[in-house]
Symmetry: C2
Subunit: 307 residues, 2 copies
């Protein structure tokens, strides 16, 4: 592949930035990768493992001469970081981000984007339960989707090149507006995370069932929730505070459905339950067909499986 940007700057050096660094190198997409993290300890680790060509001690040096700057920090601090880097951005550069909500990021970042800089918000739908500079790997984005949410009057050539960048790190690319993004993600990500956190919290609370039992017997379903509920607390706090409306909307629908199922259980309505549980199987099949999950039982946890 060809070099798409002479210098790429990554602000924040966690799972997504680290995976981007690996994927950019895998594809030979940039000549230089600079990086910055607020924590001195994170910068030190990044230097030790040579995560970037240049780990800088401040935002100004990191974005200097960069053709593409990607904000990989929690949604709640993107505005502050954007304000800080504003005077140091190269004319004609692209500023992007990887935040899980888009309307709030646009509201906080766009005011700090200079006239001669392009702003193209992005959201790669990829992640694991791990975080920190060690956690990244080049394949994270392979066959996953990245949603781009261009603001008004985005230059078409610049956008096309940036689409190609995400394709080159392995993603499929979809373009949509911020409001639709935030609602869609509330369904496919934000509310599922909130529910998982809640269920793990309930189990943690329960005096009548010992901790050890919850742990030992987790393979019966609960453990899949704990993986989701082990995700970065700061990132998720910011997601919920910044996608409040859509989250509360979907949460309301969830509660209504749950009450209907609860009523069916209380009333012994087996037909209702069976019909409901049958309907949800089809969605699983579609996800497998779309290549967004593996059909190996237990997600391949049984590595010695024969058949």
């Amino acid at each position: 592949m060809a070099v798409l940007y002479e210098k790429v700057a990554l602000i924040g050096l966690g799972l997504i930035a680290g995976s981007l660094a690996h994927a950019i190198r895998r594809g030979g997409l940039a000549n230089t990768i600079s990086g910055y993290a607020r924590s001195a300890e994170t910068r030190e680790i990044a230097r030790e493992i040579s995560l970037c060509d240049d780990v800088c001690d401040n935002v100004a040096d990191t974005v200097k001469d960069a053709d593409l700057v990607i904000l990989c920090v929690p949604v709640g601090v993107m505005g502050v970081v954007a304000e800080e880097m504003k005077p140091h951005l190269k004319r004609g550069a692209i500023v992007s981000d990887v935040g899980s909500v888009k309307a709030a990021v646009i509201a906080s970042v766009a005011p700090h984007i200079p006239e001669d800089v392009h702003f193209i918000p992005a959201h790669p739908l990829a992640g694991t339960e791990h975080s920190g500079p060690h956690s990244g790997f080049a394949e994270l984005f392979d066959d996953r989707w990245c949603i781009l949410v261009p603001v008004e009057n985005t230059n078409t050539d610049v956008l096309t090149q940036y689409v190609n960048f995400w394709k080159a790190v392995g993603s499929n690319v979809e373009i949509m507006d911020a409001e639709h993004h935030d609602l869609t993600l509330a369904v496919t990500s934000h509310v599922p995370h909130l529910i998982a956190y809640t269920m793990v919290g309930v189990a943690d609370d329960l005096g009548r069932v010992t901790d050890k039992e919850v742990i030992n017997f987790s393979a019966a379903g609960f453990r899949d929730f704990t993986r989701i509920a082990a995700s970065d607390p700061t990132m998720w706090r910011d997601v919920f505070l910044n996608n409040k409306e859509a989250t509360l909307d979907i949460l309301g629908r969830f509660t209504e459905e749950l009450f209907d199922l609860q009523k069916a259980i209380r009333g012994g309505d087996g037909d209702y339950l069976h019909k409901y549980f049958t309907r949800t199987r089809a969605i699983r099949r579609d996800i497998l067909d779309a290549g967004q999950d593996t059909d190996v039982p237990n997600f391949g946890r049984n590595l010695t499986k024969e058949s």
Copy 2:
């Protein structure tokens, strides 16, 4: 390993019975395995893949001369099957089951157990989202837990031998009473499944987000719910109808917690959210330490991961 039972009979030939057949053969734990399924199609498949030594066309032949009979059918039909096999059981045999609820199974099966037959209810905490005679594999129970729920006055020697059987198919064994089992499983399995079914149902309903989007963007969290919600509808209908009290109890606590988190989101209480999300991480760590899940990111879905 040594032969523990001359003949083992498996009633119902789905994931659990199939995996038991493989694990019994792996360990050389029986000289003969007989099997029966109500569906002629299932029996035909079981014969084709030689799942058992002897696939019978009725319950009577299946349990004849068997030293151990394990009911691997949905919880809702266990009583009927027990009644049917009653006249054909060998004196001194053990009858067991693998149902996900225990108090209801004991209530429906125990009345049909002859005086000279031992009844030892069991629940192996192992499963995948797949079902049917093809889905079994020998390693399903390895390092998973099996809970035994002996009824009053169970013969100690017989119980010890049956504990050894489950250890020989790969499980750790825990003994508890039926009520405690049903509450513990409501937390670690039944309510998580109900919530997953509900979330998938909500996504399926949502007109404003297209099906294709829900599918494509599922990697952001939702897909882990769809795996759980792809489990066998009949089995799960019976679980909820037969563990009604504990399910509704835990569901009530879940709803309360969820409303607290909802209120925190609505009110913008970031500290509450952050504190909650931090607490739930510890449980994940304990599950990994207990060997009940893998630490590989994404459950090892990224099979090409470098680090």
